[in-house]
Point group: C2
């Protein structure tokens, strides 16, 4: 059972994991150094714990201590109880529903271990936006793909904003970062995957005409919103695929086009 | 040719259309009263003007006055030139790329006039979130549906945030608000549309099994993110459709599920 601790001094050093949550560069530094991430909102906190992640502490407004009592029951991490206004002071913004937890980051997985257990994966190149990463992972998980692989420059799926947008899908969907991005096409091939690069190139095959072989292991490669996939991937992929767009409209958002493609490639 | 006006006093009344852009309730009031909306960013400003909307004025950082010179050439609205820092002071936030325009709102269209010229429409119920409305309209336009119809409580597609997320699709995609929401099912039927309500109900038909008749006019009904479609629509729709989800994942985001469904219903 988590120990309930009322905190009076907002500069209490035990609250340091929660300070200045809006400062992205500060958080990047702190969260990597301390090996933690922040779960926000009752639902997300609950999912993080259910997924087997270990809470370091909770920071709750009084009414949430009751709603989350079963989660607190199952943990021996301290639970700091503060009025919502005071939580706002510590974190620097209005916290969604006054419920936070600082969680231990799970050990990163290797791309090999993720690929060995997957048949359909999405590979994301340089998605630097936390909202896009979160939305993409939510869509990929909902539409039954097995995992996500990320290029080195992709945003952190465990950053607070990503986690919130993903509705916790980042806890259940396996993912890994590919450090040697240049070798990624070979890595996928070695694991028996056929790669489909999503692009806007004129000579790409329209998605409706793409029919994968039965039993084929599928890697869907998606690029960043602005420039799209790099030349390297454009050349290296087994197939290049385009979602036909209406005249005058540039593109779908990357999370939406990934959803459409995942749907098309459903088993 | 727009007259270029350097402004020194940030309280200059000619800047009043741009004051406190972050204050949603203030903006709602002002923009309805004055019949204006705000276009933000070079691309969006350009698209608004290209779509035939009339600028009341521009507010640009010096470098954008050059990039947008062709747009300014075509207009006789005044162009206020301010340093980016000063624009931030007026609007209350960091303006995307220092380019804004206050535009006249186009006359609202009637749902009847929109339906008469459409064969495939999305009907949105109570999407109160500006990001969701913007993303939905971008997806619907990109995937070649003809129009969007909105329930009375839907967020404003011309609110700054919606316009930005929609990448200007709100200018090209016809839309209308249905004031008598209770009569909406009949309105669609009278115009020859078959309605498909997107729901998570257990007894709905999985999307992959839905095969509309050739030539059928299609109305895709989507509900708000939390509660989903109201009982009224659940009962009134011709068909109820579900996107099959992976175990343990609640739902796709409404803009993503609309994209998947639009793709499925492509001609």
């Amino acid at each position: 059972m988590a120990e309930m601790i009322r905190v009076d001094d907002l500069r209490d050093p035990r609250l340091r994991d929660y300070v200045d949550l809006r400062d992205v560069s500060l958080r990047k530094l702190l969260e990597t150094e301390r090996g933690l991430y922040i779960a926000e909102g009752e639902k997300v906190v609950r999912r993080a714990v259910t997924a087997g992640h270990r809470p370091r502490s909770f920071l709750l407004a009084p009414r949430w201590a009751e709603t989350l009592s079963d989660v607190l029951e199952s943990s021996d991490a301290p639970c700091f109880v503060l009025e919502e206004k005071s939580i706002e002071h510590v974190t620097g913004f209005h916290v969604h529903r006054g419920a936070l937890a600082a969680m231990d980051r799970p050990e990163p997985r290797s791309p090999e271990s993720v690929l060995e257990q997957a048949r359909r994966v999405v590979v994301a190149e340089d998605l630097v936006d936390h909202t896009n990463i979160g939305a993409l992972m939510r869509n990929v998980a909902a539409l039954g793909f097995d995992a996500v692989l990320l290029s080195p420059r992709c945003a952190d799926p465990l950053y607070r904003r990503s986690v919130k947008v993903a509705m916790g899908a980042v806890f259940s969907l396996p993912y890994a970062r590919i450090e040697d991005w240049y070798a990624a096409p070979e890595l996928l091939r070695d694991h028996g995957f056929t790669s489909y690069a999503m692009t806007l190139a004129d000579d790409a095959v329209p998605l409706d005409e793409v029919r994968p072989e039965p039993g084929e292991k599928i890697a869907l490669i998606v690029g960043s919103e602005g420039p799209g996939l790099t030349e390297h991937w454009q050349r290296a992929a087994d197939h290049r695929v385009v979602i036909p767009m209406a005249a005058g409209i540039d593109s779908l958002n990357v999370a939406a086009s990934t959803a459409v493609a995942c749907w098309h490639f459903r088993p």
